[in-house]
């Protein structure tokens, strides 16, 4: 019986990481985290050089205060899982 031969397409994983579907997924996760963290949290997403990425920032003084005092953003990370 012939041995199976596996050929890895090195560009394949990068194509997946940069796909519109992955960008949509990470953007949705960031939005859920921002929503759970409360007012003043701002989600954004972008296509990076090697992968799609998203982030959530404390965009207002109240949001920064909520994170510094009560960990509002840190506690909301699970919403993005």
């Amino acid at each position: 019986m012939a041995k199976p031969r596996i050929v890895l397409t090195r560009s394949g994983p990068r194509q997946v990481r940069q796909s519109a579907e992955v960008l949509k997924d990470v953007a949705a996760r960031a939005s859920r985290i921002a929503a759970a963290a409360g007012p003043g949290m701002e989600a954004s997403s972008q296509q990076g050089q090697t992968r799609a990425r998203a982030s959530v920032i404390t965009a207002t003084y109240e949001a920064r205060r909520a994170e510094a005092q009560g960990r509002a953003l840190t506690r909301a990370i699970d919403s993005g899982r």
């Binding site: 205060r65 510094a68 005092q69 960990r71 840190t74 506690r75 909301a76 990370i77 699970d78 899982r81």
Partner: protein
């Protein structure tokens, strides 16, 4: 019915671990889950900030650690030792039965003074603890 699994209180386990071990590394600061009252100039605070179960018997508790001091250098120094001690807690079994399988760093230490402007270094780890069947 499936087995009912409960997990140890990660805050109690971590506070106990740090309270026992830190003095051996020259760090004698109060370690608790609340800001002590009266408030000392140096202290370490731990708070669970989430973290889902990893599988049937392993919890993935997300633990945020804060190291407070009068100046940023001292806060960073204490944070460095606390960080090292926590990350050394892999495969530790406590006399009371709790088991820590692994401590993973979620985010590294960052200087984040609170509204009082007292220097505070903070970071977050994920602690994998074994649960027990009721």
């Amino acid at each position: 019915m499936n087995p009912v699994i409960v997990f140890p209180d990660v805050e109690s386990v971590a506070v106990g671990w740090l309270t026992d071990v830190l003095p051996g590394y020259g760090i004698t600061v109060p370690v608790s889950t609340r800001v002590p009252n009266p408030r000392p100039s140096r202290f370490v605070r731990l708070v669970r900030t989430g973290g889902p179960r990893q599988n049937l018997v392993v919890d993935g508790a997300q633990l945020t650690v804060e190291s407070w001091d009068d100046d940023p250098v001292s806060a960073a120094s204490t944070a460095g030792v606390v960080r090292g001690v926590l990350l050394a807690a892999n495969n530790v079994t406590f006399p009371s039965g709790e088991v820590i399988y692994q401590v993973r760093e979620f985010s590294g230490p960052a200087l984040l003074p609170d509204v009082s402007q007292q220097p505070r270094y903070t970071w977050t780890v994920q602690v994998h603890l074994r649960g027990v069947s009721l």
